[in-house]
């Protein structure tokens, strides 16, 4: 009887906290979507009326659309660069038992533990000391470094699951290395590559600490612009941008899921 009571209290506590946790996870995204359709001119919640005015305003704001476009370009470049270089490195490292391979693996993962502000500042310092002018290229370089750990982990995990016998078979049956790579290796690690590209793109698109130090006057990226707007005034246009980002990300997730089961890959990270 007493055990029953204890069990019931326990279940109630677990259930309540879980409910709160799930609400907490969902609420902010929902709030952003709802407030972006407000007809009012403040962030008053619930919105006094509904309209698409902030989305219209957004399309007409050159000062937000331009950084958005810049961010997309930078993210695309950083994704491609980190996927190609990181993917190649992951393939090389996965099978190697050399000590230096383990050391390099640790090096490639370390941007993840280094506070991003410190890394951003260090890049600014080195470019200054070497007399290299800040540009979109230096920004892409910085973003690539912080995207690489995801590629190394996710592509590396796919390579680990790959049965090496398949490659030996292909080679011994007379296929060239390139043909084997194209027809055997690449299709089998596709999931890892798609998932890591997805995460790398989001990481770059979302990055503030590195861009904060490296963005020159001509390459303004979206998160920095939004941060500056929010620090100054609470502009409702940010809600519309946020709404677009949330919807595009969800659409991207669905696409990536269809191509390569991204959620499983991220869950296994």
């Amino acid at each position: 009887m007493q055990r029953n009571l204890v069990d019931r209290v326990y279940s109630a506590v677990v259930g309540t906290i879980t409910g709160f946790g799930m609400l907490l996870l969902l609420a902010p995204t929902l709030v952003v979507l709802v407030i972006s359709f407000t007809g009012g001119i403040t962030l008053k919640f619930p919105p006094p009326s509904w309209s698409l005015r902030w989305y219209v305003e957004l399309l007409q704001s050159q000062e937000i659309m331009e950084p958005a476009l810049t961010s997309l370009k930078i993210a695309a470049a950083a994704t491609i660069l980190s996927a190609v270089l990181g993917g190649a490195a992951a393939l090389g490292l996965a099978r190697s038992k050399l000590k230096i391979a383990r050391a390099l693996d640790a090096l490639f993962m370390s941007p993840m533990v280094l506070p991003a502000m410190a890394f951003g500042l260090s890049l600014l310092l080195v470019f200054n000391l070497l007399g290299i002018r800040l540009s979109a290229a230096t920004l892409v370089l910085g973003h690539t470094v912080i995207c690489v750990p995801f590629v190394i982990r996710m592509v590396g995990a796919s390579v680990q699951q790959l049965n090496p016998v398949l490659i030996t078979c292909s080679l011994s049956l007379g296929a060239s290395r390139w043909y084997t790579f194209r027809r055997i290796t690449l299709p089998l690690i596709r999931r890892g590559i798609v998932a890591s590209c997805f995460v790398a793109f989001l990481t770059s698109f979302d990055n503030v600490p590195v861009s904060l130090f490296l963005a020159d006057a001509r390459t303004e990226v979206l998160p920095i612009k939004l941060w500056a707007i929010l620090e100054g005034s609470l502009d409702v246009r940010v809600a519309a941008v946020s709404g677009v980002i949330v919807l595009v990300t969800l659409a991207g997730l669905v696409c990536a899921e269809l191509f390569g089961g991204v959620s499983r890959q991220i869950g296994n990270r």
Binding site: T29, F45, L107, P115, S122, L141, L230
Partner: protein
Amino acid sequence: MSRADTTASRQLLPVVPLAALFFAAFVLPLAALVLVSLFRDPQFTGLSLVQYVRFLSDPFSLKVLSDTLWLGAEVAFATLILAYPLALVYVASGQFMRTLITFLIMLPLLTSTVVRTFAWIVILGRDGIVNSAMLSLGFWQAPTRLLYTWEGMVLALTQIQLPLMALPVINSLLRLDGNLTRAAEGLGASRARIFITIILPLTLPGAIAGWLLVFAAGATAFITQTLVGGGRIILMPSYIYQQAVGVQDWPFAAALSLIFTLAVTGIVLAIGALSRRFMRGVDAA
């Protein structure tokens, strides 16, 4: 060099481009950071340890560092309290509930940090959800300031970092041998007792892994700290930014960055090593 050695090294050939990139854009910058932190003044006139002495003898700087580390720890404990029930429900549920929880956990992970932080501005603001709910329910007489407070910042960071805790905790709960809890149940232990004596100790490695991730992420979350915490709460990331960009004192900013990096990674490595030492035999997460 033997033939086996040559093939082993040849395998590393595809690693070379990335290694070169990391040398130029990661190792070299960090070396520059160390070098710059050793200059006596922003004019780079001479080398000395004066920046470090300046930090260690300045109560304000030390307070900023301890506040920042404390923030990380607070957020990590808050996510821990939320993550366990979530993980327990996940493990005990069917396919539908599991998919729903996975989706909810992925959602904040995939929405941009600025967007998530912006959501908290809307929730905690003067005309925000919490204030209008409390006012219309009659609990509060006047709007209460929630934005730009320490508590508001902890709450926002807790939500933003919860996925980093929930994923490792769920993973170690999934790996827990179900026979252990079933045996305890058969022997008459209450569910709370099973949780405390069996589930918690055996999933601790996952919890510690999550704790360390959230701690580091919370302490370094520049955007959320500056936008939800506001300008009056100064923490290490904004302190570094202010010294580097505002005051243009690069040597001091570099020293701040290094001290902050060492403090965060030092704590992460120390707790990681301690937990491995005391939990030998427990399935490492």
